[in-house]
Amino acid sequence: MAEYIIRRTLQMIVVFFIFLVSSYLLFNAIPGNAFQNLLLNPDLPPDAYEKVLKTYGLDKPIMERVQLYVVNFFKGDFGYSYKYYPKTPIELIAERLPRTLMLFAIVNIVAFYTGFLVGKVLAWRRGSKSETWITVTSVFSYTVFYPWFALMMLWFFGYKMGWFPIGKFLYPEKWYDAPWDSDVIFVLMIKFTVIISVLQFMAYLLTRGIESLTQRRNIRFGSLIAIFIGSYLFWNTGDALTKKPYAADIAYHMILPVIVVTIVAFAGTALLTRTTMVEVIKEDYILTARAKGLSQKRIRDRHAARTALLPVVTSFIFTIVTIIDGSVLTETIFSWPGMGQLLLQSVLEEDIPVAMATFSFVGIFALIAHLVADISYSYLDPRIRIKSQG
């Protein structure tokens, strides 16, 4: 196993090197560069363009630049952004990444949970009329043309009903005299959400062993209420009280994107769960459980759904990899200033250092996730063995 991991890591480094060089060449193959609009400005002296190119080192031959970039990359120097000059790509990513992660972490967790529930019920009610209807709706939301759907929802809830803001991260007019940066508030919100989810998850884990159904349910319900009271107290005391209206503003802007993306995302999990559940229900041990006289719900939740969880979880891991990639469209439509928009803007404006940094960030993320997925396969399913392959 250790040998396998070492070999994979070495291969990953080679792959990453190729990835770095090829994407740098790809960005430079785009005609034009980030500073060409300087040529159109009549107020600038004629040699300003050349001077700027020289400052950023863009006048050097391409092979020399690739060499420089790769060497500097492994030294940890990513250069400066062309568009937001004094900022480095790392600063930009550090600013944008939490916003994307927060939005999509909530979406993915909600979508995974509802999708799993729906899929479970779908497989169990096989052949009934409700199954057909739920399947048709989930297929619709799975294959719906996403930008169109998002715009329609934005029109309906944001414009026609006026319930939610039309895109954006916050109302700027509310923040004129705000004593804090929006990022400070947002980091506080992230910490709050993470702590709450961890507490809830802990409560779930601790009560798992309790055999009596009513007792377990009561304890879980109690813990939920305790968390609610705790968070109420937290937001109404001391420092957090003054931060509350600003946090509420950001949260208000998050509702619509979360709902829309969840509607689109849950269906994939639901359909996958249904397929695996249908296969599992055919197994002999389900028949045994039935013969033992266990209740339908118990067979469904405890015996069938648990086994069906494995492929769903692995597909969930792969969904996490595509978060940043998938956020491009959502963030463009909802004008949510996250990683997706940064990625898109830097590509379109040929802000090469930022584009390279985001690309390699996504790349490293994907590589590590693949390795983790491959290793966890062999732990979760003993039938899959990692031998000489790879």
Partner: protein, 359 residues
């Protein structure tokens, strides 16, 4: 001897026919699969209907052409003057005036002779659905129904071409990776890692920046990217299961060459999964094309994505459902065709995977 071979061929043909009939029976048992098949057939019919209508002359290309056609739709509008304060008896709010069939006199600075109460002859674009234009016309006077037909041609060409190409590549590479293992496998797996590392949408942006993408260019790009990426891994895992089957061993023992085993024994058994993959990847290809056209990055004349793009840039998508024929048909067409292919894929899944069947 030759008679014997002929008989054998005849028998094989019959067997194949019987298998086909049995599979069709299994497929037609799946209700959703049949719904999907009907949807796909409907769009295929639309795609084929348009050239037929043009050739037979039922549709005049000057009027109905999806890109350069133009139809003058005359309308008489009553000239009125909008009140200064709302609500009045006729109009509830500012946005209700002018109502349907009316025009505000302030807008008519081009025709200064007209008075309130007279009628103003004009051409309206976009025109609502009528007998001549089943789904109305867009803001340039082009027939929306004809555009939908053109869009379904684009979707079929692109979806099927890229899916065939992608699945062809990934099936061959996946079986090779599973069969040879070792270094070949490692190379192919890292190659698909490399493709998976690249964020797909920004990558397509870059490609569209230095190459003017036509439909079939995009089909090739999507096919190659899809075929080298994650599909190889899935096909490989399936081929690994086939590789350890006893008949592969017996083929090896009886002296079959490597390539013979690969192409005659392993590939045919991976094919059902590959077909399934192909049907599902059509869905993805249609969605990618629509997204790219929606963002205005493709160099094609007309497609469903471009219809939505135009309705968005012309500002109709936020006008609500007053101009529903510009917003709904294109979006629903993308959704339904992609959903139709998905449902067909599910029906096929039940045919190929006996564990999914009802009994």
């Amino acid at each position: 001897m030759s008679n014997n071979i002929k008989e054998q061929e005849e028998l094989q043909k019959q067997l194949r026919k019987a298998a086909l009939r049995k599979n069709w029976k299994l497929f037609s048992q799946s209700k959703l699969g049949m719904i999907g098949l009907y949807i796909v057939a409907f769009f295929l019919f639309l795609a084929l209907l348009q050239p037929f209508l043009f050739i037979t002359g039922i549709w005049n290309p000057a009027i109905y052409d999806p890109v350069v056609g133009y139809d003058q739709i005359k309308a008489e509008l009553l000239v009125i003057e909008c009140p200064k304060e709302y609500p009045t008896e006729k109009y509830e709010s500012y946005s209700d005036c002018p109502g349907p069939g009316e025009v505000n006199i302030k807008k008519l600075y081009m025709a200064p002779d007209l008075q309130v109460g007279e009628y103003y002859d004009t051409f309206i674009q976009p025109a609502p659905p009528s007998k001549t234009h089943l789904l109305g016309t867009d803001s340039l006077g082009r027939d929306v129904f004809s555009q939908i037909m053109e869009g379904s041609q684009v979707a079929f060409v692109l979806g099927l071409l890229s899916a065939t190409l992608g699945v062809g590549i990934s099936t061959i590479l996946g079986t090779i990776a599973a069969f040879f293992g070792g270094r070949v496998d490692a190379y192919l797996m890292r190659q698909s890692d490399l493709i998976l590392m690249l964020p797909s949408l920004p990558l397509l942006f870059i490609i569209s920046a230095f190459a003017e993408l036509k439909v079939w260019h995009l089909a090739v790009v999507l096919g190659v990217l899809g075929g080298l990426g994650g599909a190889v891994i899935t096909i490989k895992s399936q081929a690994l299961q086939v590789k350890v089957k006893p008949y592969v061993d017996s083929a090896r023992i009886t002296g079959g060459s490597k390539w013979q085993i690969l192409f005659q024994h392993i590939l045919p058994n991976v094919a059902p999964l590959a077909l399934l993959f192909m049907v599902f990847s059509v869905t993805g290809a249609i969605a990618s094309e629509s997204v790219l056209s929606f963002l205005g990055l493709l160099n094609i004349d007309m497609s469903w994505g471009i219809m939505i793009y135009l309705s968005q840039t012309d500002g109709f998508i936020f006008s609500g459902l007053d101009f529903w024929w510009l917003i709904l048909p294109a979006g629903l067409a993308v959704t339904f065709l992609a959903g139709g292919f998905y449902l067909v894929g599910r029906g096929l899944d039940e045919v190929f995977n006996p564990r999914l069947r009802k009994r």
